[in-house]
Amino acid sequence: MSRQSRAAALFTHPLLWTALLIAVLPFVAGANPFAGQGGFVDIATTMIIFGLFASGFNLLFGHVGELSFGHAMFFTLGAYVTALYTKGFNVQVLGLTLQHGAAGNMVIALVLSLIFALLWAWLLARIIVPRSSGIYFSMITLAFAQVIFFITYRWNELTGGEDGMQSIARPQIFGIEWMNSSAHFYWFAAAVVFVTLCVLYWIINSPFGSVLHAIRENKQRARFLGYDVDKFRVNAFVLSAAFPAVAGWLWTYFQQAINPDAGSIEYSGNVVMMSLLGGSQTFLGPILGAALYHELQNGVSQATKYWEAWIGVVFVVFVLIGPRGIMGLIDDVRHYGIANAVRRLFSRRARVQTDLVEELPPLDEPVASEVSR
């Protein structure tokens, strides 16, 4: 590689832009992170936690081409496991007493969150993945997410039901309550998010990741090359659950409270929106989408109480004329120049190559052969 193209590769490296974005977000949101407490830095924290959540979801959506409509279940699992571990609990299940005292080790909380989310994901994947794809896959993931949602909503004794749990302490570092400042917590979350996103980037660009792209493009061809497509889909599903779980872990500490909303359909849907807004076929897309979504939410919600409707409008416009999201637009501008990129926005051919269209199962899928055995 020449020096010039290496410099170009570095300049366009998604992790560099991820780092830049994370670094500027608290300033863009209008708060000085070095000034201690601040209203806006909390928005930035929300943005990056959801950026991580959406990026994990998008491993499945953008890279395998499968739309899970229930990824909030992994977010909420991570969040509740962390809350329960931190606050402790004492419940009767089938005559057994389950109890655990309050604890504060954030690494143990993270490991437990991951174990629960990954086990649940693995179980689901084994059931769902070989049996469904396309719209059925979306519906089944939604159904399973509802199971988790109602457990958190109804099991008052354990989860606090509708009210959830409050006054959850943030982790201490060597006994110091460093994270109680919003700004400090932001940089803690930023470090976690960035490192975790590096892992995700690594996975997407591994040989495993390239097989996911093959599966997204043409399952049948991938099979006939010798890839066990369902096994890859199961593994991708489980991996994509890990990132929302980490995000949920951060979320509990950030909010210092948790309620069933974390596992709601709304949250599951929000990450779909974020991925599409930012551009689901790119690494940076979901992170950018999460930032934009919350920027809109905060900006628009100050102007009108109908802010959700306005976000809906922005979303619809994007799906209709720019389905490859912001990153797709940036890509087009780089390739075709601004004028042509705008023209492309309104041309049919460019529009047909979208995620949403790709979602429909291809007609030539050998349904009978692969499913019946």
Partner: protein, 248 residues
């Protein structure tokens, strides 16, 4: 003689219609084994049964002494049965290079590796480049597959088939829609890779068939009408009546 495929009463029905009807065949190892027959004779369906795209309605299939009737498509591919499709079947939105690299990677031990970056996977890149040169697409390696001409897409698919260095190739009308020059190159390529492998070929270009086939099997209405060398098939009266007469 050792066989590469053996079928026993292999049958495939589509809602009452029998596309492949109780075919019992032994296909010897090595050489170019061509299947011809009129449209709708069941040639593609026969390939679909051998390669695992479709389960048979009845009958059994062996691959080198091993029964494969119940194996899935990817498992058969891993045994070294590679196929191309009558209707071009490639990764349209990936580049030519990525297409071939995925085919090479499929038989690499690190194919599902999570952590090594792609370029660290042994000789993947070298092998990919070699295959690209073999099929004459090295110059086009950065292009998206869907933007290639029809003939180049057909060649790319042959590249996907030969990339894993398989002992058995099932080629379903690889020359369909190719220009005379492309046909010539592709026939050359098939002959070049043939030694040491078994090639099952479905092809309508009767001149090519006669020129490169070791044996020819004639299908008609889902059944085998005759099998023999090109000379034998040319001389076979039943075949002439059913099929060749109009073409010869």
């Amino acid at each position: 003689m050792a066989y590469i495929f053996k079928t026993e009463k292999l049958t495939r029905r589509f809602s009452g219609f029998t596309a492949v009807n109780a075919v019992s065949l032994e296909i010897p190892e090595g050489g170019v084994r061509t299947i011809i027959g009129p449209n709708g004779a069941g040639k593609t369906t026969f390939f679909n049964l051998l390669s695992g795209l479709l389960p048979p309605s009845e009958g059994r299939i062996w691959f080198r002494e091993r029964e494969i009737t119940a194996l899935l498509a990817y498992q058969r591919a891993r045994l070294g049965i590679a196929r191309s499709f009558q209707i071009t079947n490639i990764f349209g939105r990936l580049t030519v290079y990525e297409n071939v690299r995925l085919a090479v990677q499929a038989v690499h031990d690190g194919r599902a590796n999570f952590f090594l970056p792609e370029r660290r996977l042994g000789n993947l890149a070298d092998k990919t480049d070699r295959v690209l040169r073999d099929v004459g697409l090295y110059e086009a390696r950065e292009a998206r597959a869907e933007n290639l001409s029809h003939g180049d897409q057909r060649r790319l698919e042959i590249g996907l088939v030969i990339a894993s260095d398989p002992p058995v190739l099932l080629l379903d009308e690889p020359l369909a829609g190719m220009s005379p020059a492309e046909t010539h190159e592709t026939v050359d390529l098939i002959q070049r890779i043939a030694p040491g492998r078994t090639i099952l070929l479905v092809e309508h270009d009767i001149d090519v068939v006669m020129a490169i086939s070791t044996t020819i099997t004639v299908f008609q209405t889902g059944q085998v009408l005759a099998t023999g060398t090109p000379q034998e098939i040319r001389a076979n009266e039943a075949v002439q009546r059913a099929y060749l007469g109009e073409l010869a």
